[in-house]
Amino acid sequence: MRRSVLVFGLGLAVALLAGWVAFPRALYVQRQQPLEFRHKTHAEKSGLADCNECHAVRDDGTFAGIPAMDKCAGCHSERIGESKAEATLVNDYIKPGHETPWLVYSQQPPNVWFSHAIHLKRAGLNCTDCHADYGDSDQMKVCEVNRISGYSRDIWGHSISRVHRAPHDGMKMSDCEDCHQQRHVEVGCLGCHQ
């Protein structure tokens, strides 16, 4: 009897260890961004302190998302510094006219309709409420991509149990629902899944 309890406990412990420690590490593959980009440098040296300078909401309400290469080319048409990233940016992307294949941390499935304009202008949210304080980051973080779903870890959130998370950690549908519930905003299914 005592031996059975011991073996059962061993199996339990192995599963717990595998589930809580090994599984989250195995589930995500780490991918580096194609270019080194520093939000902080751009904010401090180029006067692009406002997110809207590059990630603009257009007049018609659509969101520009990650700026296209012509925006970068406004300053980087020629090399500004001597760094390797600068050379890659100018030689591999700007001069040949190729868009940089940025990895997107907050990419949602195509069946989700989301308006940045409504959330920023009508609800009065700040960018940091959902995207954390990227504007102050001095380095792009590694993009952890889920091996099964293909989405970034930022969607699920960094806590695998999804408890005790920071408010901006996670962009699952339940996170949207929680926020809407807190603010008493009812949109229904078709509000996001048109």
């Binding site: 059975s4 412990a13 589930l27 659509t62 520009a64 998302g65 779903s149 699920w156 149990s161």
Partner: protein
């Protein structure tokens, strides 16, 4: 220590119990469900910048305003434009799903000759040979466009004929063309100024004309009111969706609309309820009552109700001369709130229904509804973006689909004012498609391109200095800086609107009450649809509307 089978089972039980309190099963379930929504063979819109462009719908001649959501240069969503002067934000179910049509499995992607795959070269050679051997008839479903002018010019240059399949709304205006000489395509109904509308089966709230035109008018001036500013009297054999929402529904026997119009006109003339002197119908109230299933008293009441609040206009569902004659009796021709002439430049066309006897070949444009079959033994070259299966065409030629070609959008059928818009090509056409105008340009290089004609029309509008350019703001054309600027705005989705209706010399000479009673075919938002397919979105709406069982006991 020896590991026994029992140990393995106990260990597995412990591991299974442990797994249940880890995120593994729940997270894997979540991820697999997301993965199953994103299988690689499911078409996905490309990732890219999101833009919204304004254009006009080209699925039928009504040209409703569109807000097209584009991702990475591809249309992924369609919505109405609230400020559009014709559609006023509304779209039919086809329009809402139009961006899905270009990906439909029945999209034509290769030239077909009598069921076999062929090439453009062979089609071109066959058509050129036919042109050299005899006259060619060109059939169009949307006259007045720049592309139509190309087709018409070609037919005339080859001693052929240009024929047109008119929309049901325009066909309903043909009696006025016969009696006045004014082309049916130049006429319209001034519904915006009417106070009573008598609809003889026209599905005003279910796809008549531009979907938003009457529905908005009705919503503003009639919906929910016991004594509405706009009285809609629906004459229908069944309690159709329009009849159910109308101010009054007069249930008549199917096909008895002409008899009712005659009965009403006779009451109007006998009781001197109208000022005008129209021809007296031979049908008496009693005879009309016998044919329609209404009582003679009900017909008299209906006649009095119709004229109680003017201006009044009667609308037919199709080419029914009795309803047109009723409008003559009501004095609703050439007057405010009645049948008006909006254009002096529109032309009359030969109807495509008549038999084609002496042609060597018939070319059918993709704007012609798929169910149209020409009565001819000539070789048929049919342009279509979608293949609907059985067709009498010898050649099926793949045409551009939704918003894949530049086209201009003249005034919608039955509008009271002139409008003009341009639908720019927002979607990239597959390389294997060609429009009929492009095809004919390969036969006759002297033909002008649609783009050139559109530019000339924009210049004419600018030099005319009349009308207004409606975009987000309304700008009189007299204040537009240049023809180029005007063209640019039209390309970006603005709509030119002509001067409002003025009483002009438009009169109908009608000496005798017409005796021919045309049948009234059923009609709805699919009536003008040229293709044999529906987008998935419209299929759903279709299932929930027209296919549902008719309620028992509602047939009059």
């Amino acid at each position: 220590m020896k590991v026994t089978r029992r140990d393995l089972l106990v260990w597995s039980a412990g591991a299974a119990a442990g797994l249940m309190v880890t995120p593994v099963p729940w997270k894997v379930l979540d991820d697999v469900s997301i993965w199953s929504q994103n299988w690689p063979w499911i078409p996905q819109p490309p990732r890219g910048p999101v833009e919204v462009k304004q254009s006009s719908c080209t699925l039928c001649p009504n040209g409703c305003g569109l807000r097209v959501r584009m991702v990475g240069g591809w249309p992924v969503g369609v919505a109405g434009v609230a400020s559009h002067p014709v559609s006023r934000g509304a779209l039919c179910p086809l329009g809402f799903g139009a961006h899905q049509l270009n990906w439909h499995p029945q999209r034509l992607r290769a030239v077909r000759h009598r069921g076999n795959t062929s090439t453009w070269g062979e089609a071109h050679a066959a058509f050129a040979k036919a042109c050299s051997e005899g006259p060619v008839v060109v059939i169009d479903g949307w006259p007045g466009r720049a592309a139509s002018q190309v087709l018409e010019n070609f037919a005339k240059s080859r001693r052929g004929e240009y024929r047109v399949v008119l929309s049901p709304e325009t066909r309903a205006l043909l009696p006025y063309e016969r009696w006045s000489g004014a082309p049916a395509t130049s006429l319209g109904y001034d519904l915006e100024n009417a106070q009573t509308i008598v609809s003889f089966g026209a599905p005003l709230l279910d796809g008549w004309g531009a979907p938003g035109r009457f529905t908005r008018l009705w919503a503003e001036r009639a919906a929910g009111m016991t004594d509405p500013q706009l009285r809609l009297i629906q004459i229908d054999a069944t309690l159709s969706r329009t009849a159910a929402r109308a101010w009054r529904w007069a249930p008549v026997r199917a096909g008895a609309e002409a008899a009712l119009a005659a009965g009403v006109a006779r009451v109007l003339l006998e009781e001197h309820l109208v000022a005008s002197r129209g021809p007296m119908p031979h049908t008496t109230s009693a005879e009309a009552a016998d044919q329609t299933g209404l009582t003679a008293d009900a017909i008299r009441d209906l006649a009095r109700t119709i004229v109680a609040r003017g201006p009044v206009v009667a609308l037919a569902n199709d080419d029914n001369p009795a309803i047109a004659a009723l409008n003559v009796v009501l004095g609703a021709v050439g007057t405010r709130g009645g049948v008006v002439r909006r254009s002096k430049t529109a032309k009359s066309y030969v109807a495509a229904d008549a038999e084609i006897r002496s042609a060597r070949a018939v070319l059918i444009n993709s704007s012609v509804p798929w169910d149209f079959v020409p009565r001819t033994d000539a070789e048929v070259f049919r342009f279509a973006a979608w293949d609907g299966g059985s067709s009498k065409a010898d050649w099926l030629l793949p045409a551009p689909g939704f918003l894949e070609e530049l086209t201009d959008v003249p005034a919608a059928p039955a509008m009271a004012t002139e409008t003009y818009a341009v639908a720019q090509p927002l979607a990239k056409a597959p390389h294997e498609v060609r429009s009929a105008a492009q095809f004919l340009a390969g036969i006759d290089a002297s033909l002008p391109t649609a783009e050139k004609i559109i530019r000339a029309r924009c210049q004419d509008l600018f030099h005319g200095r009349a009308g207004t350019l409606c975009a987000q703001d309304q700008t009189p054309v007299s204040k537009v800086a240049s023809a180029q600027k005007l063209e640019e705005q039209l390309w970006n989705g603005a709509v030119w609107v002509g001067e409002p209706f003025r009483a002009e010399s438009f009169r109908c000479e009608l000496k005798e009450w017409p005796t021919v009673a045309a049948s009234v075919p059923s009609q709805n938002w699919l009536s003008s649809w040229s293709a044999p397919i529906l987008p998935p979105l419209a299929s759903k709406v279709f299932q929930e509307s027209d296919l549902r069982e008719r309620p028992e006991g509602r047939i009059a």
